[in-house]
Symmetry: C2
Subunit: 146 residues, 2 copies
DNA sequence: CTTGACCTTATAGCAACTATAAGGTGCATC
DNA sequence: GATGCACCTTATAGTTGCTATAAGGTCAAG
């Protein structure tokens, strides 16, 4: 193993991820097939580290592995127009905003649910259980108004 | 099949879910084991519908099946104190708020990323790809200031 | 008694890993 | 050269909450 070369574990450490994840990315066609030592150990170089970091940054932005695969393909075609990259990011942003809206209304509902129970009673009288047993989501009159 | 009784498909329709989901909940120990017709068809009654609706409402609130299992157990012990129910809901609300915060910062980051690309260039000059290739999340100077 | 809609089970797949088992390699030390 | 230990290899199963498929059986109507 020469300088500037990494085993899978060293690459993992350098990118703050795990060896299993790198091998998984290889099986999924995201990481390139590396060369091997005579004994079969994977050998990575700095461009593999770049590629891994690119993947991890995309993941950090919430892109699926499928999306990352596509982004990698686009990034490799340096002369292609970047409208597709732009569109992919925009679409992903839309999806994130959608999930955000869902989670916000979920938070509001849960907060309402949470305030139903003062905390000192028994299950039989618990307004939370009552709320979960009736269809509070669809009723016009709320299950409880704390 | 008498009135007030349901096949799995009828129960599914009544609860606006699917038969496979009900059978799945049975395997996971959420729905009770139903009686069967001589031919082996599951027969449900209205309390099974209540239980299914309870499960689906919990799911709507984002509880995991594991949580729902626990909530069902608590709901069955009508004389137990409901502090545990209260705590479970509060903990879940905390988790939802955490995910919400993560998603909000993700949205901000993605929006910044999105504005990096004007849309007319080629991949080689694309600020988005550049941003994904550099570690913009950890750099003090932003990858681009559109 | 046939048709057709429904039911039954078992099994595999999805995403993105994580965990486990059983064994092999590389390198330093004795 | 032998030993020890950290690390590597593969294959396989598990996670969550379903969904899809296959191959077959049942029910009720006509």
């Amino acid at each position: 193993m020469q300088s500037g070369e990494y085993t899978v574990g060293q690459l993992a450490t350098a990118a703050r991820t795990k060896a299993v994840t790198i091998r998984y990315y290889e099986r999924q066609g995201l990481m390139r097939i590396p060369t091997r030592t005579p004994g079969g150990y994977r050998i990575y170089r700095s461009d593999d580290l770049d590629r891994l970091l690119f993947i991890l940054r995309c993941r950090h932005f919430g892109f699926s592995l499928e999306n990352v695969r596509e982004l990698l393909q686009l990034a490799d075609q340096t002369d292609a127009p970047c409208a597709e990259v732009d569109a992919k990011v925009a679409r992903h942003l839309d999806e994130v905003r959608e999930r955000l809206a869902e989670l916000q209304s979920l938070e509001a509902e849960l907060q309402r649910l949470s305030r139903c129970c003062a905390g000192g009673g028994i299950v039989k009288d618990c307004r939370i259980i009552e709320s979960l047993s009736r269809d509070i989501g669809n009723s016009k009159t709320p299950a409880c108004t704390p």
